[in-house]
Amino acid sequence: MAQLTMIQAITDALKCELKDDENVLLFGEDIGANGGVFRATEGLQKEFGVDRVFDTPLAESGIGGLAIGLALQGYRPVPEIQFFGFVYEVMDSISGQLARMKYRSGGSLNAPVTIRSPFGGGVHTPEMHSDSLEGLMAAQPGLKVVIPSTPYDAKGLLISSIRDNDPVIFLEHLKLYRSFREEVPEESYTIPLGKAAVRREGKDLSIFAYGAMVHEALKAAETLEKEDFSVEVIDLRTVQPLDIETIIASVEKTNRAIVVQEAQKQAGIAANVVSEITERAILSLEAPVLRVTAPDTIYPYPQAEAVWLPNHKDIYATAKKVLTF
């Protein structure tokens, strides 16, 4: 066991998979000798060679096409999109092509591709670096969308994503890359995709969150505990497909819920969670399920992040509304 940051855990997962499966290929802009703009692929080209870990020309669409073509030759590509705001350049390769490979070939072909990409606010990035666009991906049949919030999860979920035989979008929150360390086993291990994690058990309210919002939710839960509210915090971990079983079991226990996301209210996946709860557990609810989200504007200018991004105070306020409904 070692104390690792999330970025180290990601590097570790990539290393494990490069070792275990010779078909795993890593490529993207500046991921080779440079080790990635966030050092996620640090040292990997040196250890595994330029045939396995390589740089590409600066063109996201081309990277997507490269991944599809390599998959058609039996490889297990793990391309990187430098920032997820650049996904628009490669939307066709992802949603129009990768996601549909299995289906459009009548099941005869598949594309075991894992797209890694950082996103998320709170670090004053320039335009289109921090946008939360997981909602776009979650709306595309054929894709799974994974968003870890801890080093331990990041490693296990990334190994599972790479081993999945269909495309997975693996989104890494910039603010969580180095914000804390955690015990991470040195050996390979997996965490099933589509399974949420109960981060904190409680009886009075369920908070469903993912990405950086998990930590904000935990902070809010602590404050609420001081007021004698017992709050359950559930980290979705995979935002498509959702872990319905865990979500509903929690709501049936607590009878109250809120859903927290960093994305704008009209984006993200919070509305999906609310709908699922309404369809499946309305008789357990003692209050409406409310959402904590960002406002429906374009992602803020860096200096406005603090007033725009949802935080533990917003979560506390919304939780109180639901608890006292």
Binding site: G65, G69, L70, L72, Q73, R104, P141, D164, L242
Partner: protein, 370 residues
């Protein structure tokens, strides 16, 4: 501003580049060899086989249009006029080569091994049409213009990494050469020096938009310069020129010398697709007539007849066979079970179905059992 001393003369630079892309022809409109040095000297047997495939494909086009009009086929993009470009290029390939076709390139994948009834099912919109037999190196026709180009760069890189002596071959049209994925595809393959052959079938029109509206470049072949890859413009109505250009690109690719771009200058006699396009709105009969004189089937027939390799009887026999095969394939397609929602759900994932699809599978299984 023009310099007199030729040190700074961008206008001349462009002229110099354009001059490099003169169209290559081997067989003229009368079926005469005009470039003896480039004659691939195919065996008599191969010449006859190539002609048979082109005639078969012309009949396939005629029958497909008529079956579409009867409502027995769905989406169909006519191919008549492009037999040299499509069939002679595929004829230059080997079984282990991988084809990434556009929506008009069904003939190439059929000749590469996709059963004809599957091609018909693809036209109708049935998932069995996309099911590629394991030993056939193709993917279903690409609808997103340009996507096949970036994917071809990936397939070619995969072959290179595997150490295969094969190539990835992809096709687009003149309109497609305006897409970003077109440039990214040829540029990636160039940067990785991958074994890819990029073919642009310049049939003069992208639906109604003439070739001149796509670009001010005088040839599409010269776009290869932007990727730093060898490129050539050939007479796309000349089967021998198309064959030689493709074979040459293949030889260089498997030798490790990287990708090539081939522009085939050709013409489609029919509409863009059978979904209501009316070429008389944007094309004159004079232009049609001009191109009909260049017909690849006619010119190759003349060539083979002069060599004593082709007769009316032989052609009638090929036509008869084509009609029989097409009839049998349509019958086979008719016999394929109708699609159910549960089929579509089960096609979504290789691994276990996610909860939402698992639930929906149960709902539709019950619905279908009633």
């Amino acid at each position: 501003m023009t310099s007199k001393n030729n040190i700074f003369d961008p206008v001349q630079n462009l002229k110099d580049i354009e001059a490099k892309f003169e169209m290559v022809q081997i067989l003229n409109e009368n079926g005469e060899i005009v470039n003896e040095g480039l004659d691939p000297k195919l065996s008599d047997e191969k010449l006859v086989e190539l002609m048979s495939r082109m005639v078969f494909t012309r009949i396939l086009d005629q029958r497909s249009i008529s079956l579409n009009r009867q409502g027995r086929l769905g989406f169909y993009a006519p191919t008549a006029g492009q037999e040299a470009s499509q069939i002679a290029s595929q004829y230059a390939l080997e079984k282990e080569d991988f084809i990434l076709p556009g929506y008009r390139d069904v003939p190439q994948i059929v000749w590469h091994g996709l059963p004809l009834y599957k091609a018909f099912l693809w036209s109708r919109g049935h998932f069995v049409g996309g099911q590629i037999p394991e030993d056939v190196n193709v993917i279903p026709p690409q609808i997103i213009i340009g996507a096949q180009y970036v994917q071809a760069a990936g397939v070619a890189l995969g072959m290179q990494k595997r150490g295969k002596k094969s190539v990835a071959v992809t096709y687009t049209g003149d309109g497609g050469s305006s897409q970003g994925d077109f440039y990214e595809g040829i540029n990636f393959a160039g940067a990785f020096k991958s074994p890819a052959i990029f073919i642009v079938q310049n049939n003069q029109f992208a639906i109604s938009t003439p070739r001149e509206v796509q670009t001010s470049a005088t040839t599409i072949a010269q776009k290869g310069v932007a990727a730093g890859i060898p490129s050539i413009q050939v007479d796309g109505m000349d089967p021998l020129a198309v064959y030689v250009a493709t074979r040459d690109a293949r030889d260089r690719a498997v030798a490790g010398d990287g990708p090539s771009l081939i522009e085939t200058v050709c013409y489609r006699y029919g509409p863009h697709t059978m979904a209501g396009d009316d070429p008389t709105r944007y094309r004159t009969s004079e232009t049609d007539n001009l191109w009909e004189k260049k017909d690849p089937v006619v010119r190759f027939r003349k060539y083979l007849e002069a060599k004593g390799l082709w007769t009316e009887e032989k052609e009638a026999e090929v036509i008869e066979n084509a009609k029989e095969e097409i009839k049998a394939a349509i019958k086979q397609a008719d016999g394929v079970a109708k699609q159910k929602v549960t089929d579509l759900i089960n096609l979504m994932h290789t691994d276990a179905l996610p909860y939402n699809l698992q639930e929906q599978l149960e709902i539709y299984t019950e619905k279908e059992s009633k």
